[in-house]
């Protein structure tokens, strides 16, 4: 019996505007993310990575793969921003790759999903965004990069939206560092009970108060280049 898997999906915008330094930063970011995670035994044991890119089309360039076998993809920038297609593909991949718990078999942890985009969607995305938001395929963090990305579009997908104003190599580096810290923390601490609440005395003649509820995951605070969009 092995430990539960922690699926991690990275959705990267590879439209034309990402050409040059940004796409190179994304590539080296994914490489160092992988390196960093390979240095953490808990992540090695449970984290699985997948990369989905979107430009004129959406494509799963790396299927959900265990860390030790993951090969960072070679990705290129060009074309439009098929954000809707990417969201649809994400849902397909999650349905296909993430194992559900059944009465007979223990399934995977809820996936961690990171989406980043630097522009306005160029396809029909609203319906897909609504599906994602309603079905909540996992803990989803969306990042709007640069001047042109609209964080309010991302708000249709998830409540957790970040803004990375500058698309500098350093900002990307910090972003991927934070992604790796988030995955490490989740792979180590997932399943931890929340600290017990302040002792609540039982009412006279009543049983004691219920135990502390299970905590969801919490991630480390993002780097200073990235701010939370509210």
């Amino acid at each position: 019996m092995s430990v539960r898997r922690l699926p991690v999906y990275i959705l990267a915008d590879c439209s034309g505007s990402m050409n040059g330094a940004p796409i190179e930063s994304v590539k080296s970011g994914i490489r160092s993310l992988h390196n960093e995670l390979m240095g953490d035994p808990s992540a090695v044991e449970c984290a699985y990575l997948s990369v989905i890119t979107f430009d004129a089309n959406a494509q799963q360039v790396v299927p959900l793969t265990e860390l030790a076998s993951f090969v960072p993809p070679d990705i290129r920038a060009g074309g439009t921003t098929s954000f809707g297609a990417a969201l649809k593909l994400l849902m397909d991949c999650v349905d296909r790759e993430v194992q559900k718990t059944t009465p007979e078999k223990k399934g995977d942890w809820k996936p961690l999903i990171f989406i980043f985009t630097d522009g306005e969607p160029t396809d029909d995305w609203e319906a897909h965004a609504a599906t994602v938001k309603q079905r909540r395929p996992g803990n989803l963090i969306a990042v709007a990069c640069g001047e042109k990305a609209d964080p309010d579009v991302l708000k249709h997908v998830t409540d957790t939206v970040l803004v990375m104003k500058e698309m500098t190599p350093d900002a990307f580096k910090q972003f991927f560092k934070w992604v790796s810290a988030s995955i490490k923390q989740t792979s180590q601490k997932i399943g931890a009970p929340a600290p017990a609440p302040d002792a609540m005395p039982a009412a006279p003649g009543m049983p004691p108060p219920p135990p502390a509820p299970m905590e969801g995951i919490s991630l480390p605070p993002p780097p200073p280049q990235i701010v939370i969009h509210v």
Partner: protein, 505 residues
């Protein structure tokens, strides 16, 4: 629930870099008035602390960043840990404990001279509280080709996937894992003896060096100190006692005993004692885990309830670790799983591990070791090779004095020794009142296989007695081992009678 906490505002732009990257050091004042310099770039960051190397790299400085309701509590806890509860200062065994604990040595309590931008940049909690601890010993780091170092967290060695990434020469064998566990058990025993509970024992907080059978307990700053409120850290998933997972109890000595047993089971068998196939809830993995590790936790090798047994069964069942450890696993994971006060104590583990080391036998492959005892097969489960029978074993009986009785009376000491060629007999074998933990490692005899026969050679300066023939076995003399042979190993107080038998004969 918010997924993210709000970060602090961005730091000022960094100063222009000179041609070569330059390390910048900051100075901090400790509560005892001394000062130290540390690297301004962090070494690592954990759940509640961010860690920096001191300039001489002999120590690390860790600053707390999480919010706590009562910061004074944390400081008072540290003061107690460094002061009255400190096993690494004073006492005959202080040197030993300094090796096996990474014990805090100093506090930085709200030093007003720490730069504000530094505090802001790293989200350090105000009033600033820092703790200084020794750097880990060098054998607790992996070194790769590029000179990068990585801590030898126990998890590296026990995970199915992570273990494959560990260089083969670092992986150790059952003998060295028993030694690692023995160090862990004695360290936990020492904490509990002082009334302290670690509260977060896990394979992330114990570093092990299976190559040398060494271990050290780290993160000793969140110990549960008597008289102070327990820390808010609940522990690491997989090691948290069921009653804490279920929200009924706080971390304590009893919950440490669950974590210690999990650590020992994982180290020796490379699997988790409670993570079996039984599904408790299909609603969410979180809920299933909460029940599987909490209210409905069930040992994967439960003797009568098979619902959480591994399928197919494990290649190396717990019984292959011998009777002493198997008994304590039952005590902790069956009897005491939901009855914390019935769990095996750290001192029981320490003794059982020592006794199990007496049952270990070299594998025919010359690399591995495995347990050979009454009722166990003679095949090595690691190399799959079988020992040539017969294998001599000695059962120890303890001499008891009955008032008024002239005869020698003996009682079973529940301790055996598996004999192999070239094995030594030590004082703690010869006498029941000598502990392997504080006796000198000076042999009093040895066993040898010579021209097809087994012999015991007396090398002590005292006589042994061949009870059946009423002869002395004097220094330098030997006796051939035969089934039923009885040797009184020492005439001193606590002297034991060894009764020999042969396995696989």
């Amino acid at each position: 629930m918010a997924l993210l906490s709000k970060p602090k505002s961005p730091p000022p732009p960094p100063p222009p870099l000179p041609s070569a990257p330059q390390q910048k050091f900051l100075r901090a004042k400790l509560a005892d008035g001394s000062t130290l310099e540390f690297d301004s770039e962090p070494l690592a960051s954990g759940g509640e602390k961010i860690v920096f190397f001191t300039k001489d790299k002999q120590h690390v400085v860790a600053f707390f960043f999480g919010h706590v309701k009562d910061p004074g509590e944390r400081r008072r806890r540290l003061e107690k840990i460094i002061g009255p509860y400190n096993p690494t200062i004073g006492g005959a065994q202080a040197d030993y404990w300094r090796k096996h604990f990474c014990w805090p040595v100093g506090i930085i309590d709200n030093d007003p001279n720490l730069p504000a931008d530094f505090i802001k940049r790293h989200n350090i909690f105000k009033p600033v509280l820092g703790v200084v601890a020794p750097a880990y010993r060098s054998n607790f780091f992996f070194k790769d080709r590029t000179g990068n170092t990585r801590e030898k967290k126990g998890r590296w060695f026990t995970g199915v996937k992570s273990r494959k990434l560990v260089p083969e020469e670092e992986r150790g064998n059952l003998l060295t894992y028993l030694q690692c566990c023995s160090v862990m058990a004695s360290s936990v025993r020492r904490l509990h003896f002082a009334g302290l509970a670690h509260s977060d024992l896990s394979h992330n907080n114990v570093l092990i060096d299976p190559k040398h059978g060494d271990a050290t307990v780290i993160d000793c700053d969140s110990l549960v100190v008597p008289g102070l409120a327990p820390p808010t850290v609940m522990g690491t998933p997989g090691y948290i006692a069921p009653e804490v997972v279920a929200g009924k109890k706080q971390p304590s000595i009893e919950t440490d005993l669950h974590a210690l047993a999990v650590l020992i089971y994982e180290s020796l068998l490379l699997r988790h004692p409670l993570m079996g196939p039984k599904v408790r809830s299909t609603r969410s993995p979180e809920e299933d885990d909460l029940l599987s590790m909490g209210a409905q936790a069930l040992y994967v090798e439960h003797p009568t309830d098979a619902t959480n047994h591994l399928k197919p069964g494990p290649e190396i069942p717990v019984s292959r670790l011998g009777p002493y450890l198997q008994k304590l696993f039952i005590k902790t994971f069956v009897v005491g799983l939901h009855a914390p006060h019935l769990r095996a104590s750290a001192s029981e583990w320490e003794k059982a591990l020592q006794k199990t080391l007496d049952l270990i036998h070299p594998s025919p492959d010359g690399k591995n070791w495995f347990i050979v005892a009454q009722g166990l097969p003679l095949d090595c489960p690691f190399s799959k090779r079988k020992l040539a029978a017969p294998v001599p074993v000695a059962a120890f009986l303890r001499h008891i004095k009955r008032p008024g009785s002239e005869t020698l009376d003996f009682k079973d000491d529940e301790h055996s020794l598996t004999v192999w060629n070239g094995q030594y007999l030590y004082p703690w074998h010869a006498r029941s009142n000598v502990s392997p933990l504080d006796a000198k490692r000076e042999p009093v005899g040895y066993f040898t296989f010579h021209q097809g026969r087994w012999y015991l050679v007396n090398q002590s300066n005292a006589d042994m007695v061949l009870v059946d023939t009423r002869d002395y076995l004097r220094h330098g003399h030997h006796v051939e081992l035969t089934p039923g042979l009885r040797v009184l190993l020492s005439l001193e107080d606590g002297g034991r009678l060894a009764v020999f038998d042969f396995l696989g004969a």
